[in-house]
Symmetry: D2
Subunit: 346 residues, 4 copies
Amino acid sequence: MIRFDCDYLEGAHPKVLKRIVDANYEQTLGYGNDDYTIQAVNKIKEVCKSDNIDVHFLVGGTQTNLTVISSMLKPYHAVICADTAHINVHETGAIEAVGHKIITIKNEEGKISSNQIQEIIDEHYSSEGPGAEHTAKPKLVFLSLPTECGTNYTKKELKNIYDVCKANNLYLYIDGARLGYGLVAKDTDIKISDLPKLCDVFYIGGTKQGALFGEAVVIINDELKEDFRYCIKQRGALLAKGRLLALQFLALMDKDLYFTLSKQAIDLSVKIKEAFINNGYRLLYNSFTNQQFIIMPNEKLDKLSKKFAVLRWKKYDEENTVIRVCTSWATTVENVDKLIKEIEKL
Amino acid sequence: MIRFDCDYLEGAHPKVLKRIVDANYEQTLGYGNDDYTIQAVNKIKEVCKSDNIDVHFLVGGTQTNLTVISSMLKPYHAVICADTAHINVHETGAIEAVGHKIITIKNEEGKISSNQIQEIIDEHYSSEGPGAEHTAKPKLVFLSLPTECGTNYTKKELKNIYDVCKANNLYLYIDGARLGYGLVAKDTDIKISDLPKLCDVFYIGGTKQGALFGEAVVIINDELKEDFRYCIKQRGALLAKGRLLALQFLALMDKDLYFTLSKQAIDLSVKIKEAFINNGYRLLYNSFTNQQFIIMPNEKLDKLSKKFAVLRWKKYDEENTVIRVCTSWATTVENVDKLIKEIEKL
Amino acid sequence: MIRFDCDYLEGAHPKVLKRIVDANYEQTLGYGNDDYTIQAVNKIKEVCKSDNIDVHFLVGGTQTNLTVISSMLKPYHAVICADTAHINVHETGAIEAVGHKIITIKNEEGKISSNQIQEIIDEHYSSEGPGAEHTAKPKLVFLSLPTECGTNYTKKELKNIYDVCKANNLYLYIDGARLGYGLVAKDTDIKISDLPKLCDVFYIGGTKQGALFGEAVVIINDELKEDFRYCIKQRGALLAKGRLLALQFLALMDKDLYFTLSKQAIDLSVKIKEAFINNGYRLLYNSFTNQQFIIMPNEKLDKLSKKFAVLRWKKYDEENTVIRVCTSWATTVENVDKLIKEIEKL
Amino acid sequence: MIRFDCDYLEGAHPKVLKRIVDANYEQTLGYGNDDYTIQAVNKIKEVCKSDNIDVHFLVGGTQTNLTVISSMLKPYHAVICADTAHINVHETGAIEAVGHKIITIKNEEGKISSNQIQEIIDEHYSSEGPGAEHTAKPKLVFLSLPTECGTNYTKKELKNIYDVCKANNLYLYIDGARLGYGLVAKDTDIKISDLPKLCDVFYIGGTKQGALFGEAVVIINDELKEDFRYCIKQRGALLAKGRLLALQFLALMDKDLYFTLSKQAIDLSVKIKEAFINNGYRLLYNSFTNQQFIIMPNEKLDKLSKKFAVLRWKKYDEENTVIRVCTSWATTVENVDKLIKEIEKL
């Protein structure tokens, strides 16, 4: 069985593993109070071309989202996001469990627009209804970059969203679980060094991008920086051996390995997408990143599934299923070629 | 200014006030440990024709919803309800603040169906996606009877919903903030004594039905009865002078006053509705209860608003607004006649 | 049976009832958006001799504490209070239920000192242990005035506590469930108009002081004022017929009725206390307010309990129980005289 | 600088690392749905000599405590533990942040007794005071084995505690962050295979015991097993590459490596303790596990700290500090000998 069902199938890039193994017998302080963490923070400041950011390392995505979001909001604050946003559909109500309502916007290929956000805000302050305090107050916009559908925002779109946020006193937080796979794609002009000017907080995903695990939270807005370590600890997200996170990001950020691996993955992803198109399949979304969503007749899917693992994303209709095919830093050209041969054969 | 904008404009029915005033100098134990509370509980058992129910008195609707719902659920449990449900739109995220995700269903005139509920449940356990535990687990269906749109469920519809709940191990909780106005309307055949067979918990609204304040929670399902007083106290909902709640419900339930007042209110409501129809206005929903939702040209609305207060419910389009016109136990025939004259004049 | 077990046995002072009854058929906007609420807010500003305060009316004490405290704090913030504080012992973990740790200080007759508070803060930032972020961060001091033991703070003591709070960037919140009974007692020199200079938020208790129910929250610190109505609504504490609260406080604050009733109650309380002392009983605390705590041999207590209800506060030792005897605005001289006669007879 | 300040200074035992590295390029399902996880679960069942247990792997201790405890309790339930318990003092209010009050018992060398627990329960149901529902309801006892002070419970003591729990319908949960270091010590007769008969849930610590990270939760009580994976996911504790946890526990549990490493660590710990005693130092607690707490004159401590890192645990008095000296699976004989030489020299 060759697997393309998700992007966390293997362990880590060998350079990541090597750093962990090399440091194994060193004694360092716990909880991120070690020198490697300082180095990794500095490296990320360099990559982001910004000195005025705080960087913290957490273990996983849901953990990062609930820790960051609960640190930013008061109890009556709500989060605005796409109905397809990960926090809305695949995190078991983690955001509600820390007390916050999620207000969803109908997505367009996983994306939402500045106009839609403005509408939600306007509704909230509308003179109709019983009064604004009878609804949770929108205070944070959550985006995924790239989106859960594999699509990207352009710099213009993102700027418009952030402008709406700032004009209405809302925060913007970007989930970058697959940030690398997004930023190297051809459908966006955003660079990582743009992000400190385009949002209040974002995170650089490691788990799906060549690390064993780990996400680097970047806090730009000064008013959100204070006491963030309390939040990490309280949510059970402060790794005892914090250097494990730092070492992995040091490896990934060294000589742009993070982006090199990302590029390699999305090239293979686009190759697979084209194979599907060329063989007459329709796509659910037009993705240039590492996730492809293809509408597939159930019969063909069953045949494909004998040799290749893909994710059954959702039912399309009685005869078709949407599948997700992922590549990652670990995907090999051979395996992609085998998959393409199978697509042609089906 | 004559007001029709909501159903909590006046104080309480004189019989309700009288009972409070009459008992004023009696000394009774606090927190509902008094004899009046025992009497009121028994009275409600009699009205509901059920001995095997627990009855508790709380102060208001949002308080009741958050206390009841959080008492029924584990942290990862979600509530299913209409997108128009009060807990979803007008309670400031109170349910999320106690930790629970709300999964909404597109309403049809404020109502949802057993089929829609089954679909949500099926989606949750679907073999597609990353696994059921990545989504909050549906465990409770929330209905309002009558709905926030003034419409009603029939006994058949409600039974279907409860059957789906039981078949899937979900609870059914009914918000009865306006229960009286619903049960006496011509578009339902449900009686209050049917409710113990048709749900797990419901509440009998007092605040909008002739009391100064107060809601009577009726718990039917044995597994939800234990320790409910802890929940009331923890949420700040245990009134020190608990007898104030009991005395009010004793007055309202005496000789069916509750339903007599309800009938009187909805007769006037239907009269108003007919006046709007007869004068060429369209309705947003077809309500037979005490709330009417009328689509009104903004110009006419401005004129009407000079003498009569109605609630601007929501924008309909650039030229029209949906207004809400409410009657209540306190609405007088004279005021309704004045309003109707104005409608005719507009 | 004549009851002295608590201070919420009767309904309300007749002037309070009268205002509610008189306004019964007026139509006013809900949720405190009525003119009576404006009047009551202004009246309380006048009584507090401060224009720069926000005033909100809530229903009960636990509700007020959980709403106020959760509005002031971030998730990792802790509350410092006496181990005997109401929020620590008799509110069913309501503060923890909204997410906050309570750090207790050993009380001295219900009181805590500025030095004790400073110690807790110092411990928190101590260079010992794993790092400050491994403990919840103290951010709020909670006091009751008078305390749950019937004792009082002097102006000097309160000022010292507030100075420590300000010096360390903590808030001070005062629970005034029995504020009147405290302020008129001979063991304090604090006046209600001092409070806006001596804390960030306090509340003026109504429930135990002549109202049917109701507490007036006074917010002094500007940074705590924003959006407080969202907090009230979210916690289910926004009374639909908000005028009921305003009318009661208007009656109580008119011509100092609140303080006149308080004085009357504590005079009777001190009379009872002296009767106990004169008959050889020991006191647990030396209270000059409306609650007395007397150590009583169980045998005598059983005898007393045949005619008079007192609260069994806690076991003192195998042979003795601490009882609580309360007076209130409603306590009559005749009943007190009967109690004293019984004490003498025992 | 040679460090003895905590037990998570180094990475992992080489056999643990090897398993991670060896599996690096294998493709396995995420979230613990892989074969290694099945193997590791079975291995732990074998070690615990029980088939009727559920095993789940989480990343860290605070995360495990908040996930397990919130899965076991209803909102009004409280946790009973020693005042020195980790959840009370060093987890930033994580348990309160998920809504639960902690009721502390004065520890004796880190331990609490069955009698003390019974007293708390009796107090809760006492006929004194305003009624049981005015206090949070004790439902769970939390113990650490070994305790945070390095001490141990005997089998008899633990059985007594569990008997009190069962007799009063409370759960018992054991935090085993350092379980190995406790079980191999000479002051307890508990074996790991006894634990399924002596509590409802416990966890086997990996982070401090030779793993990079990881804790294995063992659920014994059937009523606590359902839906635990939802709880893990909701708290952000479901590791994407779940096999990383399984592989580490497979390495540690293979041929008793876990206990061999534990024994090695505590032998060195006792050697250090004896060196301190022999040189005239007093101990704060008499520990036979891997943590030693020594009272040290500040001057000598400053001298020691030039070459050796120890944790300043807390101030003892003006002239003395309590230090914590830890050994672990990674501590070498050479470093211990150097430390002992320094102790003798001081």
